[in-house]
Symmetry: C2
Subunit: 499 residues, 2 copies
Amino acid sequence: MATKVSSGNDPWSAWSSSKSGNWDSTDGWGAKPEGAAAQRNTSNNWDTAFGHPQAYQGPATAGDDDDWDEDWDDPKAAAPYFKDSEAAEAGAAQRGNSRAGSSSMKLPLNKFPGFAKPGMEQYLLAKQLAKPKEKIPIIVGDYGPMWVYPTSTFDCVVADPRKGSKMYGLKSYIEYQLTPTNTNRSVNHRYKHFDWLYERLLVKFGSAIPIPSLPDKQVTGRFEEEFIKMRMERLQAWVTRMCRHPVISESEVFQQFLNFRDEKEWKTGKRKAEKDELVGVMIFSTMEPEAPDLDLLEIEQKCDAVGKFTKAMDDGVKELLTVGQEHWKRCTGPLPKEYQKIGKALQSLATVFSSSGYQGETDLNAAITEAGKTYEEIAGLVAEQPKKDLHFLMECNHEYKGFLGCFPDIIGAHKAAIEKVKESDKLVATSKITPQDKQNMVKRVGTMSYALQAEMNHFHSNRIYDYNSVIRLYLEQQVQFYETIAEKLRQALGRFPVM
Amino acid sequence: MATKVSSGNDPWSAWSSSKSGNWDSTDGWGAKPEGAAAQRNTSNNWDTAFGHPQAYQGPATAGDDDDWDEDWDDPKAAAPYFKDSEAAEAGAAQRGNSRAGSSSMKLPLNKFPGFAKPGMEQYLLAKQLAKPKEKIPIIVGDYGPMWVYPTSTFDCVVADPRKGSKMYGLKSYIEYQLTPTNTNRSVNHRYKHFDWLYERLLVKFGSAIPIPSLPDKQVTGRFEEEFIKMRMERLQAWVTRMCRHPVISESEVFQQFLNFRDEKEWKTGKRKAEKDELVGVMIFSTMEPEAPDLDLLEIEQKCDAVGKFTKAMDDGVKELLTVGQEHWKRCTGPLPKEYQKIGKALQSLATVFSSSGYQGETDLNAAITEAGKTYEEIAGLVAEQPKKDLHFLMECNHEYKGFLGCFPDIIGAHKAAIEKVKESDKLVATSKITPQDKQNMVKRVGTMSYALQAEMNHFHSNRIYDYNSVIRLYLEQQVQFYETIAEKLRQALGRFPVM
C-alpha cells in the first residue's frame, strides 16, 4: 500500500521483528535505549526551504536562557528514579536527557532481571495490589470498552508567549499563558514546564495512552517568525488534545499544571507528581474494568489487531505527509514561477503590439496586459494556497504520526505482559508461582487489554472526527481556490473585444 | 523585455549586425547561403517527450517514396535558374537543395556584381520596366497603404492524406485532397507538390510578402499519430493563410495549384510557373501604388520601423513559446503525477481506516476514497488540458514565428534598395547613371515601401484578429477547466458526513 518513508528513527523497526524478547534484555533496562522516547522524537523530514517548518527536533539542550537549577529546589526528589542516588548526576541526567533516555527506562530497578518494563513484575505478580486512591474506570458501551467521559469538559487556551524575567531582569525567559475555559483563571508556564509535564504524563500514562511529543522548543535557522507561529499552533493542539482525553484531563498532574495558584503550590505539586509510584505499568492497577474476564487468546488477538492497525495507519499517514510535502514545494516554488512567466510573457507581447503603430488595437493590448497581470495574481494565489488548506491536512497527519509513534511502546508492554502469562504455566509447574498468582496475571493482563481497547475507541472516535473535519476543510478551500481562479480568468476574458 | 531563445538558426543574427553590405558579397550570390530559406527552417525546439510534437525540421530528402524524376519531364525547364546549365545537376541540385540553398540565391547572375538580390539591379535601374500582364494594385485606405482585397474570398479544405499509387502499385505515395470552397472541386497533391508551391511563392513573392515554411514532411520517431495529426493541422493552416492573402490567393500559380483539371494542365502550369521571370525583386514591377511619391527619408523610417517591430515581436513570440513549452511539460508530466499521488495516498488511508474494526466510519471512508479518486480524475484533466487550450496558443505563436522569420529577408531587400538609392548621387555625379535614372530609382523604392506598408497592414490586421481569437479561446478553456475541477471537488466534498 504505502511506501515506507525512511526516517532516521523508525519506531516500528524494533517492533516488527516481533520477537517476544523485545522487551527483555540482559542489561535490565529494556530494549534499545533509542526505543521509546527517541522514537517519539522522529523528525518529520520537513526542514527544507520550501517545506513546512520544522517539527520537534530533539530534547531541549541544557544551559539555555532558562536556568533549570532553580526549578529543582530539591534534586533528591529525583533520586528514587535512579539507580545512582547521586542527585547532582540525577539532576544533570534529567536536564540533559529528559528525553533522550525515556524516564520509563530509568525507573526503579526490577527485582526480576527478566522484567524490563518498570513495574511489570510488580503489577503482574504482586500478591495484592494496593487499592489506589485515584481510580480510572473502564466501562463497556455500544462501541465496546470505553473510558468514562466527564460530563463537563474544558479546553485550555494557550496565548502568545511573552517575555518574563526574574532576578531583577538579569534572567529572562519566554512564558506562555494558559487559560482553562472552565476556570478562566490564567497560569503561566515556561516551555521547560511543558517538558516536565510531558515527562510526567509519559511516565504515568505512557504504557496505556499515547502521549505525543511536544513541538520543538528551539527555534533555529530561518523563517523564525513562521516557526514561532507554527510552534504556538502545535502547543495549543497538544494542550487541547490532553484536555480532550478523559483520563489525562482529569489527572492530578494535569489539573495542577493548569490550576496552581502560586509558586508554592506549583513546587509542592511538582514534588508530589515526581514521587508518584503508580507509574509505568503500575498505572493499570488503578483501572477497574466493569467487564467480564478475558481469555488470553482474545487478549492477544486484540493486541495484534491494534498493532497491525497502528502500523498500517502510520504508513498511510507517512505517505500522505510525503506527498503533501512535495506538493507544498511545487505549489510554493516552480508552479507559481511558471504562472508568473506566462503572465510576463503576455505582458511583453502586449507591449510589442502597442509599438506597431497600427490603429485600433488599444483594447486588445490592454486586455492582453490584464490577462498577463491576472496570471501573475494567480501565481500569488497558488503560492499562498497551501497555508490555507494543505497546512491543516499536514498538521493533522503530523499530529497522528506523533500518536502512532507511541504505539510500539504501548504494544510492546502489552506483548511483554502476554508473554509473561504464556510462561506462567511453567512457573506454576516449577512452583515458582501459585495457580492463584497465574489467575491474577490473566486478570491483570485482561485489565491491560480493556485499557487498550478503551484507548483505541477514544483514538478512533477522535480520528474519525479529526480526519472528517480536516479533509472537509481541505476540499472546501480547494473548491474556493479553483473558483477564485476561474472567476479571475473570466474577468480577464471579459476585457477582450469581440471581433 | 524578452530573453532571446537560442535556436540554432536565428534569422535575426545576420540582420541585426545591420551593415548595409549584408546583401552584398563578393561571390555575387548574396550573403550567407544559410540566409533566407535555411533561416526559415528553424526548428522550434519542441521535440521532447513531453513537448509539443516537432515542427518543420528541414527539407524533404531525395529518394523518398516519391519519385521526383517523373515530375520533371523537362529538366531543362530548370536551366534558366542556374549558372550551370547542366540539367542533370540542376535536377539533382533542385531535388536535394530545394531549400538548403534558397532559389533566390540561385537565380540569374547579376550583371553588376554589387547587386546580390536577384533582379535588384534590373528593377532599380532598367530604363523602362516592361508593363506586366498581371498587376498588383496598392491603394491607400483609412489604415494607410493596402492590398486590394477581392470581393469574394475562398478557403481550401485539406483532407486527410490517403495512399495513392502508380505503376500498377509498384510505387505508392501519400496524397492530400484539397477542396477550394468556391469551386468545391477537389484536386490531389502529394507533399512534394506543396514543396514546389512553397518554392514558387517564395521565389515570386518572397521579397514583398512573408511566405512561411511548410510543416515538416518527414514523420520521425515516436508519437507518429500525433505528428500526423499535427502536420495536417499545420498544412491546413498554411493553405488557409495563403487563401487569406489578397495577392497570393489571386496569383496564377496558386490558382492553378488548386484548380487544375488534369495531369496535362498540371504539368503545363508547372512549367509556366517555373519560367516566370517576374520573380525576386522584379515582383515590385507588377505593383502600382495609387499614391503620392515618397521621399527616401520616409521610406527608410518606415522600413526601420517594420524591422524594429518584427524583431521585437519575434522576441515576444519566442518568449511565449518557451514558457508555453515548459508549462506543457509540467502539465503533462510532474503535475498530474502529483495529483495522482495525492489521490492514491487518500485512498490508501481510507483502506487503512476501513480495517480499524470501529463501527460508524463507513461513510467517511467511502468519502475519502472518492476524494482520492477525484484527485486521480483531476490528474487526468490536467494532463489533457493543454491540448484544449495551450495547443492553440502555441500553434498561433508558432505560425507567427514562421512569418516573422521571413522578415529579415524582406527588410534586407528593402534596405539594400535604399542603400543603392543613397549611393545613386555618386553614380549621377560620375555619369554612371542619369538624373532620370535616379528619379526612377526613388520612385521604385517608393513602390517597394508601399508594398511593405500594405503587407504590414495585412499582417497587423490578421495578427490582431488571430491573437484576439486564440487568447480568448485560451481563457475560455481555462475558465472551464478550473470550474470543472471546482465542481468535481465540490461533489467529493458533498460525500463527507457532517459531524
